[in-house]
């Protein structure tokens, strides 16, 4: 019987496979890019792959580990994206790009964590559908607030208004940072594939270690049985908040990566609306709830798929949805799971008979 006491445990091995998979993918892609085998379309998708993988892992922490359904993670991504973009724009001329981007990441994570904490206090008292509805509303509110927000800075300090650019009263030496629905323009493009992979690995490190720590165990205990968890002295509110805040912070990091990959950042329904939140949830569900490695794979495949189907023009979304349904059946249907197990058994049995014959 394998336990965590001696040698490399099963979980450690599984974690190492996940890290290895990401690093291997990075090396292969870099090789292909340098030999010119990757089209510019795919090259443009490399940073989004990382962004969506990170936010999918973040949501999996809430859905799979904490066991609560959140459809507001695009909102946390939005918070991280805008706070970090504003910071980077404000210090574009005065700071070198490396430390600036590092601070931007920390600011994006911290602000998303703060919002996650504040939202979490009332929201985590709710359960199931109710929690989903409130987080959905929260995501929309964030997006709409940012769409109406004007923010500028000049020698007199920081100004903001919800009316229009003129009412900011910015002096001539000043700079408008957020222009309402026009968003943030001129964010330095600090994101690239290497940075994305590093952030993905850091996210993996944090989440996997979290799950296998005392805190993660308490969170999963609450997920499996709240009443029993309380009865053995686990502070339910505290650990739910820790997990939710961490999840929000990581979604914020994905937002930072997203914002610094574009020169213009808008809060559109497409990128930070509930469509996006649902899409992230689809990554998590298809990759397997609670399965961190699956989230990465699902996020990459489902970001790649619509682009690969671009040639089919009108039929694109039709095929996309058919593929989604097929994946769902393959992953979750009892018959399909049974079929997969039998196939696996037959394969391993075949190998054993081969061995015997040899």
């Amino acid at each position: 019987m394998k336990t965590k006491t001696g040698g490399l445990s099963k979980t450690t091995k599984s974690d190492l496979i996940t890290y290895g998979m990401v690093i291997l993918a990075y090396i292969i892609v870099q090789l292909l890019v340098s030999t010119g085998h990757v089209s510019s379309l795919i090259q443009g998708l490399l940073v989004p792959f990382c962004t969506y993988a990170i936010v999918a892992i973040a949501l999996n922490l809430t859905v799979g580990i904490l066991g609560e359904l959140s459809i507001g993670h695009a909102g946390f991504m939005c918070v991280g994206a805008f706070t970090s973009a504003v910071f980077s724009l404000a210090f574009k001329q005065t700071m070198p790009s490396a430390p600036r981007f590092l601070i931007a990441i920390l600011i994006g994570a911290a602000s998303a964590a703060l919002i996650g904490f504040l939202v979490g206090i009332p929201v985590l008292r709710l359960k199931g559908d109710y929690l989903a509805i409130v987080t959905l509303a929260f995501g929309e509110i964030i997006k709409n607030i940012i769409n109406a927000l004007y923010l500028g800075v000049d020698s007199r300090g920081v100004h903001f208004t919800m009316k229009d650019a003129l009412s900011l009263n910015i002096e001539e030496d000043g700079l408008v940072l957020i222009k309402g629905a026009q968003g943030v323009t001129g964010t330095p493009n600090d994101s690239n594939f290497t940075v994305g992979i590093v952030l993905l690995l850091v996210t993996l490190f944090i989440v996997l270690n979290f799950i296998h720590s005392r805190t993660g165990r308490a969170v999963m205990a609450i997920r499996d049985n709240r009443i029993a968890a309380e009865s053995i002295g686990i502070n339910v509110t505290k650990y739910k908040l820790i997990a939710f805040t961490l999840s929000a912070a990581l979604a914020g990091v994905a937002g930072v990566l997203y914002a610094h990959n574009l020169s213009t950042l808008n809060a559109l329904p497409k990128n930070f609306g509930y469509n996006m939140s649902i899409l992230i949830l689809v990554f998590v569900v298809l990759g397997g709830i609670g399965n961190i490695r699956g989230s990465i794979i699902a996020a990459v495949l489902l970001t790649l798929l619509p682009e690969m189907l671009r040639g089919l023009s009108d039929y694109r979304m039709l095929i996309y949805s058919v593929v989604l349904i097929a994946m769902m059946i393959f992953n979750w249907s009892p018959n399909a799971i049974f079929f997969r197990k039998r196939l696996q058994q037959r394969l391993t049995a075949g190998r054993e008979t081969e061995k015997e014959e040899a």
Partner: protein
């Protein structure tokens, strides 16, 4: 002095008087039984003792410390652990982790230390693993350590629940119908386990049970509850021969 003492404990749900003027006094090291027909208020008393419900009146004293109106986690820290009538394990966690969750408050390290795997993480986790394996061995569950808790056979799940409760290092263990759904063989094994827990850990145990063989076999004292009130209290044989108790159980 008694380890657990309740004085005039009572609670109502709407117009229903679920528990009324409940007094009990459990000595240290005692195996105490709480019996009564269905709906008599036995589990409600457990929920009062563990802070799931707040009593309308009365007081709960553990080792002389007043626990009335305290929260579940504070009561756990004060030293009362319990199992549940319908088993409540952490089904998707390994058996070992179920016990480690019970050790949660005794082997602390911060979330930060856990994520960045600082030295205290390794030290504490190692100590936790050792202690958890010890407990699993005591209950004969060590070979199942890596199984998901929900995949254990029924009888083993009951034992795991007791092991998890014992991991919190309680002064008093509450068992809510530990033999429910067990066949005679499993019940016999369970009786041995309960007796063993009492002797090995020098534990005080208060248990709810319907199985009269188990109750008369291991309990030293009994309290009989009927319609939320104490019907009889005293030594097991005495109480079981009490005509009022027989009437409550079997009818006129």
């Amino acid at each position: 002095m008694a380890l657990l003492e309740t004085k005039n404990l009572g609670i109502s749900f709407g117009g229903l008087r679920a528990v009324n003027a409940f007094d009990i006094s459990v000595e240290k090291g005692q195996l105490y039984g709480l019996i009564g027909p269905n709906g008599a208020g036995k589990t409600t008393i457990f929920n009062l003792l563990t802070g799931v419900y707040r009593p309308d009146e009365g007081a709960i004293l553990l080792d002389g410390v007043n626990l009335t109106g305290k929260k579940t986690i504070e009561i756990c820290r004060a030293g009362i652990a319990r199992t549940f009538q319908n088993i409540r394990l952490f089904g998707d966690l390994p058996v070992l982790d179920n016990v480690k969750a019970g050790l949660h408050n005794h082997y602390p390290y911060s979330t930060f230390e856990g994520i960045f795997r600082l030295p205290r993480y390794f030290k504490t986790e190692r100590a936790m693993n050792e202690r958890a394996m010890e407990l699993l061995q005591v209950f004969g569950l060590e070979e199942y350590a890596g199984y998901k808790a929900k995949n254990l056979p029924y009888g083993q799940q009951r034992k795991l629940e007791i092991a998890r409760a014992m991991a919190t290092a309680p002064k008093l263990l509450l068992l809510d119908e530990p033999a429910a759904g067990m066949n005679p063989n499993e019940t016999k094994e369970l009786m041995d386990t309960i007796r063993f827990v009492r002797d090995h850990f020098d534990m005080t145990i208060l248990l709810i049970e319907h199985d009269m063989k188990l109750v008369s076999g291991i309990c030293e004292k009994l309290t009989v509850l009927n319609f939320g009130e104490v019907l009889a209290q005293g030594d097991t044989q005495e109480v079981l021969n009490n005509p009022e108790v027989i009437t409550a159980y079997l009818g006129e």
